[in-house]
């Protein structure tokens, strides 16, 4: 049983000024056995603190954490199981391989702690090294190896005891983009083989979407939305989640008589906006790659003018001025529109959001300073 349960988990830190800051606020979550679950959010949102509470590096201020049928932190009963007795595997952002031990000894460490007989120890270490493509490097010291190889040592060390839960604390963010992609697959493959539950902390949305069965987006210590990646991407709960899960435009608009008008314009968008009310002001969220760029009025859409064109690798990015606001649009390289030309934008899958309060934004920036 390796379901993970967090009940009303709250963590407060004392600040230097003598006050308190709530890093994790009444967090409730159940992660299923064998699931790959991602915590996504900006820095300072509380995702790492939550992970460290599950690992046992931080005590809770309130609430309880269960690993399977076993309570590991229950504040009410003052129960706290230290990290070494939780039987978890963990991989850290900075690899945390021990520079004074060679690859073999790094991987063997968890087994040596358990006083595993040497024959069995050797066998298990070699299996772990084999699974992480490190066979032949046993005698090398971490300082002789590349970042990717060091992270593989960390992975091998985490799987060598076949834990049922694996905690990954931004394990890919210190690697270069190519390596990052291949490591993603390796982690997935390892999970299939060893069948452990993964909790994956990251601030990279594409990483989270690629890896996870389910994920959550956190902000200011609270879960904003949880669900499967596709569901989250297609139906973001609010402007923050929408903005966090991909490139986005937020157009200030006004709804009236079933139509949507850009602020200050008498010409409507001519595209449906999901969730729009009958009347009132708000935002229309859209993704640059989901906007259709037309050349003539006949193709439909709202009129705009190309202010700027950027030639990029995956697409051509246009900054299109619509009624005084700028909309980013991605189009193909072929027959790219020149700067200054007139165009017509058709919004697909656009969504309506009430404007977020400026206060929330302010609090978010303050939190990052802490």
């Amino acid at each position: 049983m390796s379901r993970i349960l967090l009940k009303n988990v709250t963590k407060q830190f004392d600040t230097r000024g003598g006050g308190k800051v709530t890093a994790v606020d009444n967090f409730n979550l159940e992660i299923k056995e064998g699931e790959c679950f991602s915590f996504l959010g900006p820095s300072g949102c509380g995702k790492t603190t939550t992970l460290r509470m599950i690992a046992g590096f931080e005590d809770l201020t309130e609430g309880e954490i269960w690993l399977g049928d076993r309570p590991v932190s229950v504040k009410e009963k003052n129960l706290y199981v230290p990290p070494e007795d939780r039987g978890l595997g963990m991989v850290f952002q900075a690899f945390a391989v021990w520079p004074h031990l060679n690859v073999f000894e790094n991987v063997a460490f968890p087994l040596r702690v358990k006083k595993t007989p040497s024959g069995e120890l050797r066998e298990k270490v070699m299996t772990a090294l084999d699974h992480t493509d490190l066979t032949g490097a046993e005698k090398a010291f971490p300082s002789d190896l590349s970042g990717g190889e060091q992270q593989r040592i960390a992975l091998a060390r985490a799987i060598v005891t076949s834990p049922s839960v694996m905690l990954l604390d931004e394990p890919l963010s210190n690697l270069d983009p190519k390596l990052r992609e291949s490591m993603r697959f390796e982690i997935k493959a390892l999970q299939k083989k060893f069948n452990f539950t993964i909790i994956f902390v990251t601030h990279d949305q594409s990483e989270a979407m690629a890896l996870s069965d389910r994920m959550l987006v956190m902000d200011m210590g609270k879960i904003i939305q949880a669900g499967a990646p596709r569901e989250m991407y297609e139906q973001p709960a609010n402007q923050f989640v929408y903005g966090f899960l991909g490139q986005s435009n937020f157009l200030k608009v006004r709804a009236s008589e079933g139509k949507i008008f850009p602020a200050g314009s008498e010409v409507s968008l001519d595209s449906p906006v999901a969730g729009a009310p009958e009347g009132g002001e708000g935002l229309t969220a859209s993704r640059p790659n989901e906007i259709i760029l037309g050349r003539t009025a006949g193709e439909g859409g709202v009129r705009g003018r190309v202010e700027k064109r950027l030639y990029m690798t995956y697409c051509v990015e246009y900054h299109v001025e619509v009624a005084g606001q700028t909309v980013r649009v991605h189009g193909p390289h072929r027959d790219a529109l020149p700067e200054g030309s007139e165009c017509f934008l058709g919004f697909r899958n656009a969504r309506w959001y009430d404007a977020e309060s400026a206060e929330a934004e302010l609090e978010r920036t303050e939190r990052q300073v802490i």
Binding site: A55, P82, F92, Q93, A94, A96, P99, V113, S143, N174
Partner: protein, 574 residues
């Protein structure tokens, strides 16, 4: 040397142009100063030891080394050095762990206290502990004897044990500071990943933390060992009366007894060679013990390390720490302070026995004392300024110019680290008392030259630290804006490292102000330094006046540290 010079001039600089003249000049000037102040004295010691009137002479060296008195001094030196290193390391490690990894309260306060022994010369401690634990006259022993009615003292500080104790009190911060800083910079996930792997707190300390901070421990322990082996003040004050000699005090006694005779200085030089051999052996053994390299343990985002909960042990440990800190740091300073106000040494410490007469005497009537304060101020400020600029020059050559031969320059500038102050003094005497046509003996200049050699390593280290912060591109940006090399130095580099230069000045000024070891061999009738004056007054038995003067010195040093702290606080703006 000839090959070396031609190879330097022969080198074509790709940057070519006007740079050639200035950089080359700075290089040669620094090299010249280092050869004259550091290398020549060392060479002269070897020459004078093994040559007599131009002919090789091994006899004297063998005779001096095999003399039983000197052999026992060697044995004492090694014994004291070893014990101080062991106790100092254990003590330093204990406090470092307590402050770096436990949840003990009052950490900031304790850390501040730990740096205090750094500020004051160990011979102040020896004086203070003499006041308390000298076998018959020490206040604690007298109290103890009057309490028990017997004549056996509680503890005798004038023993090898006493010397070890006082030196340990002053040298353990070497290990403490090294290890605390290593623990603070260490990536906490290195320890956390071991916890996750199933290891308990003590297992992690043994298998992960200790091996990772081992280089820091070894560096600190080596500093203790070298400092103790070359140390003069404590064994001089505590050991002479009981005929306990170490190599440095033996060298001092030989030179003093010889009263300037050439044969006496030669014997001193021979013992100096022996002392350097002991230091080099210690360095070599340290390197053997520590074959492991330096690890890069500082990466990743810094999280607060998990602190070990002391629970029930918290209050007792805090009590022990505060008490031991009080004994090591506060008590000796307090004793010196209070005895400085006593009418006569030995009187009970009551209000009616206090007086300001000692201060009147040392600050008003004694010309010798006034001279010594003035001398020390001139010497510290003068050598501070000159050495600091020399350090900047050397660091500039090593870091920015990087000519062929920079290795030699670096080695020469770091050499004084491992030369005991007394040995340096003998070398300086041999070079500057007429051997090369210049006789500075008994003048303030000979001390000045010795100070430059003694402190050039500090200056170089501090200047390189700040120069390394100044990226090449900053100077190059100035050049690209049309500034000449000299202008870019003057307007960009120097202003950027100015705070580092000021801090570097104080790093020389402060120890020079209390210097004893080197000046005790070099002073003349009118060129006593503050340290020498305190030492001399104390040896004459004028304990109360020595304490008063030591209190004055403590005041000057504290003032200097306050200024230093103010200056380095400004530095954050860089």
């Amino acid at each position: 040397m000839k090959f070396f010079l031609t190879s330097m001039f022969g080198k074509e600089t790709s940057r070519g142009d006007r740079r050639f003249g200035l950089d080359r000049m700075v290089f040669l000037l620094s090299l010249f100063i280092l050869v004259v102040t550091v290398l020549m004295p060392m060479i002269m010691i070897v020459v004078r030891t093994f040559f007599k009137e131009g002919a090789p002479d091994w006899e004297m060296f063998v005779r001096v080394v095999l003399e039983p008195e000197n052999l026992s001094a060697v044995w004492n030196t090694i014994k004291i050095g070893f014990l101080v290193t062991v106790f100092g390391t254990v003590l330093g490690l204990f406090y470092a762990w307590l402050i770096g990894r436990s949840d003990i309260p009052m950490k900031g306060f304790m850390k501040a206290l730990f740096t205090i022994p750094y500020m004051f010369p160990p011979f102040f401690g020896a004086m203070a502990w003499s006041l308390m634990l000298a076998p018959r006259s020490g206040y604690f022993n007298k109290w103890f004897m009057s309490l028990t009615g017997g004549t056996t003292p509680l503890l005798d500080i004038n023993t090898v044990g006493g010397i070890v104790f006082v030196e340990t009190c002053y040298y353990f911060p070497f290990v403490f500071l090294q290890v605390v800083s290593a623990l603070e910079r260490m990536d906490p996930t290195l320890e956390e990943s071991a916890r996750i792997a199933g290891a308990g707190q003590w297992y992690v300390i043994r298998k992960i933390t200790l091996p990772l901070v081992l280089p820091a421990i070894a560096a600190g322990a080596m500093l203790i060992l070298i400092s103790s082996i070359s140390h003069f003040g404590v064994p001089a004050i505590l050991g002479f009366s009981n005929n306990i000699f170490t190599l440095p005090t033996k060298i001092f006694q030989l030179i003093n007894r010889a009263a300037g005779s050439f044969e006496g200085i030669r014997e001193g030089a021979a013992l100096s060679v022996l002392l350097v051999v002991v230091v080099v052996a210690a360095l070599y053994i340290q390197r053997l013990v520590l074959k492991t390299g330096r690890y890069d343990i500082i990466k990743g985002k810094s999280m607060r390390p998990m602190l070990i909960k002391l629970r029930g042990a918290k209050i007792p440990l805090l009590g022990i720490s505060l008490l031991s800190l009080f004994v090591i740091v506060a008590l000796p300073l307090f004793m010196i302070f209070i005895v400085g106000f006593l009418k006569a040494y030995g009187l009970p410490l009551t209000l009616k026995n206090l007086t300001l007469r000692n201060y009147e005497y040392i600050l008003g009537q004694s010309k010798m004392v006034r001279d010594s304060i003035v001398n020390s101020l001139i010497l510290s400020v003068g050598s501070g300024v000159v050495t600091m600029f020399l350090g900047v020059m050397i660091a500039y050559v090593i870091i920015k110019v990087r000519p062929r031969g920079k290795g030699l320059l670096e080695m020469l500038s770091l050499l004084p680290y491992s030369i005991p102050g007394l040995v340096l003094a003998i070398g300086v005497i041999l070079v500057w008392s007429g051997a090369f046509g210049v006789n500075l003996y008994n003048t303030i200049w000979i001390i000045f030259i010795a100070y430059i050699a003694r402190y050039v390593s500090f200056a170089m280290k501090s200047a390189s630290a700040s120069l390394e912060q100044v990226h090449y591109s900053l100077e190059e940006a100035a050049r690209s804006c049309g500034a000449t090399h000299l202008e870019s130095l003057r307007d960009i580099t120097i202003p950027l490292i100015r705070p580092g230069m000021i801090a570097g000045f104080f790093l020389i000024f402060l120890p020079a102000m209390r210097e004893l070891t080197t000046s005790v061999l070099l002073y003349g009738p009118f060129t006593r330094t503050l340290g020498v004056a305190i030492y001399a007054i104390n040896s004459e038995g004028n304990t109360v006046q020595a304490s008063a003067l030591a209190t004055v010195a403590i005041g000057i040093i504290i003032l200097g540290h306050l200024v230093l702290r103010y200056v380095t606080r400004e530095r954050k703006g860089l």
